[in-house]
Symmetry: C2
Subunit: 453 residues, 2 copies
């Protein structure tokens, strides 16, 4: 275990919350781990993170005893389609084309509307909070309903209204897709401290070159993130009408779609030149190991991306292709998949993977000054993991447990901006029974339609 | 969802436990799933499994309401080294040789004795029970201490005292290894309804041809399972002094070590001929996807084994190379790894993987008439999973959730031979605080020794 040698500060200020006695995995630049720690929160921000001792318990409104627990930054899920939790396990183990065209697309066409989007998003929020995710990046239809639900749930998020060149339930006229997306951006820009709107072009094969260029330009002018699925499957270049061996990353660069405010999700089918382009443009990558494995999309060259210094975060993808939103599971898969693929047990060590799930994910979203580590001045997006459980005993290296042993259910407390959202493994402010009942009701009609197809 | 059309029997007999209203995943030959089910247990056996309705609640000593839960056979972990939970996360992300020689072997040499084996095994038992495993197959040193601990914990197990051709802490004279192992077999044969002794030759590279032949012969005479690590790493033939491309499975067959009472663990580096040999001899395979990935051992050709009809179960391996004993996680990895490896999302479908973790695992241990499915006449080794949690909602196909969404922490109730061992997610009969305290105490000295290496 690495210990920060910084002495406990003698703080005598009043604080809102004091989390004491935990093993603090800061994920600061030195990856300091502090065994007997204190973290103090005031007005939604971290005002102290270091050794315990100097802080006065009496000056705290609320004290959380984290004895035997790991305290760490909340996890950042860089790629989700939250309402798709309604389709969790609807269809698995099928060829991609059959899965999409016979199950997922028909289910979306028949069942996706603002009400179901709200219900699915709230279900996903409950799942994310209970498993330690405090920030996510989402792209879907009826994104205003996603945003309202996330605002209600209290999770930090970057959200994009989906743009494609064909009619969708919420944008029947494709020529107006970008307008709809920009309306969403304007409505949510500066509206909430936690919700950041973005532009989400679905992919280079569902958006024309002109759509991509116009959408990226609009994102630039608004100063928001530009998200896109890229190089997910082997035949993507062909689907784009390019030479089948053409580089998707090169194509996106040619459209001016790549810069430090772009997040490319998946990046499975990329080569060394593509990695250089990603690095040189400053674009970020969202790696989704479980979805890529379950859909047999391929294996992204993540160790090479990390070595090249490309910003690389971790994501779960939507619940139809994973089938959950547990970022601890995503860490375990990321660490093990690339060891197997490289034939080298030393690649993707635990520290690298913990960084991907926190501060590196925040970097890909342009939010690393705000969240992704426990450092003074940052937002108090903090989770506490109960390590007094047999599968977490003994503990030699906390970061090893986070990657290889912890599961989402071990999360005891969660706060975003200093607000407690999960306490003792239970949602503080959401009615879980009602959320589950609504999702189950919608699933009844989804099941009926799906059985007919 | 598939429903059994069998009508509820009109049972008016007195039963010990009635589990009612759950979604029953029987894992019987037809893989029947019964939505509104009842399972009745009497004298440690299942006396009814089918639709609810005909059973009289008043005739049950204890009623478990499984509304919103999945009821299924307890999981069978076909490959473990239980005391190694003490080394969980001690050293990760290292080249195999360095990991073994600088960390694991020295830790074993300094710290493994009957007392630590007992403590590590009890810690593993707590973890296994809380995550739904009711039967395991173990091989290690001081196996009598493992057996005593498992007997106390109430888990069903096949256990083998490790045989190698060099001195070990519990057998300083290698020429007596087989005698020690046979003493263990004789001591535990017919002693407990739940503990079955076996012979465990560590591997073809740590046991000579003569040792293998003698040990297998002794196992045959005693009528017990013969376990061995086989074809785990690419250079194993070289380590055995064989031609580097020689077949390990062929070599074992030549030694007479393969028959229907042999369990070969890992089988990563095998080809089509080896698969035929495994099939023709009737030997079983334990697949350990997480360990193989974490140690970068390679990817076992499991879909081909299953297609060929080779008995193939699932295992976690020891906690030093996984780093937990969660069989639900092992299922998720098994399903996704082989989709990625084959480039085909249809391989290793959920039903196949659930079978591997239950009835097929039991088959590899020769215990499929006793456990591994919920059928009348079998032992009541049953688990109940609480599916009223956001990551398990909605539920279209229970078997999909078992593989892709459930984690060990979702297990609410566990019984072995009809005896409740976990109730509402808590151990009924084990003192978890004491178990954790003992393991932590031992880990303090392991940590000190390890830091010196």
């Amino acid at each position: 275990m690495v210990f920060n040698l910084k002495e406990a500060a003698d703080l005598s200020m009043a604080v809102d919350v004091l989390i004491e006695n935990g093993i603090l995995v800061t994920v600061n630049p030195d990856f300091d781990i502090i065994e007997n720690s204190a973290v103090a929160v005031k007005d939604g921000s971290i005002v102290y993170a270091g050794r315990a001792g100097g802080l006065n318990r009496q000056d705290a409104q609320k004290v959380i005893d984290a004895t035997g627990c790991i305290v760490m930054p909340g996890l950042v899920n860089t790629h989700t389609h939250l309402p798709m939790s309604l389709f969790r396990g609807l269809a698995d183990d099928l060829p991609l084309e059959k899965w999409l065209t016979e199950h997922i697309f028909p289910a979306e066409a028949s069942h996706i509307n603002p009400e179901t989007v709200r219900a699915g998003t709230l279900l996903s929020c409950a799942e994310m909070l209970l498993s330690g995710t405090t920030c996510c990046c989402d792209g879907y239809f009826y994104e205003h309903a996603v945003a309202e639900s996330l605002e209600k749930a209290g999770i930090r998020a970057v959200l994009g209204q989906g743009i494609v060149d064909f009619p969708t339930p919420d944008s029947p006229d494709p020529s107006k897709s970008l307008d709809t997306a920009m309306e969403f951006v304007r409505a949510w820009q500066n509206k909430s401290s936690r919700i950041s709107p973005s532009i989400f072009c679905h992919s280079p094969y569902t958006c024309s070159s002109q759509t991509l260029t116009r959408a990226k330009q609009a994102a630039k002018e608004a100063g928001v993130l530009f998200q896109i699925h890229a190089a997910e499957t082997q035949n993507e270049a062909g689907l784009c009408g390019l030479d089948k061996d053409a580089s998707i990353i090169g194509y996106l660069a040619d459209q001016g779609a790549l810069d430090e405010n772009t997040l490319a999700s998946h990046c499975v089918w990329i080569n060394a030149v593509d990695i250089s382009i990603l690095h040189d443009t400053g674009a970020g990558v969202s790696h989704n190991p479980e979805s890529n494995m379950k859909l047999a999309s391929g294996i992204a060259p993540v160790p090479a991306l990390v070595d090249a210094g490309v910003k690389t975060g971790l994501g779960t993808d939507g619940c139809a292709s994973n089938n959950n939103l547990d970022m601890f599971e995503a860490m375990d898969f990321a660490a093990k998949l690339h060891k197997a693929a490289a034939g080298d047990p030393a690649v993707m060590d635990a520290e690298t993977v913990v960084r991907m799930a926190t501060i590196e994910g925040a970097r890909t979203l342009g939010m690393d000054r705000l969240t992704g580590s426990i450092e003074e001045g940052k937002a108090a997006d903090i989770i506490v993991i109960d390590a007094k459980r047999p599968h977490l005993v003994p503990m030699y290296h906390p970061e090893s447990h986070l990657v290889y042993s912890v599961c989402g259910a071990d999360v005891a407390h969660v706060m975003v901006e200093g607000k407690m959202l999960v306490s003792d493994g239970r949602l503080v402010h959401m009615d879980l029974k009602d959320i589950i009942a609504r999702a189950n009701k919608i699933s009844t009609s989804i099941r009926q339609t799906n059985q007919k197809t």
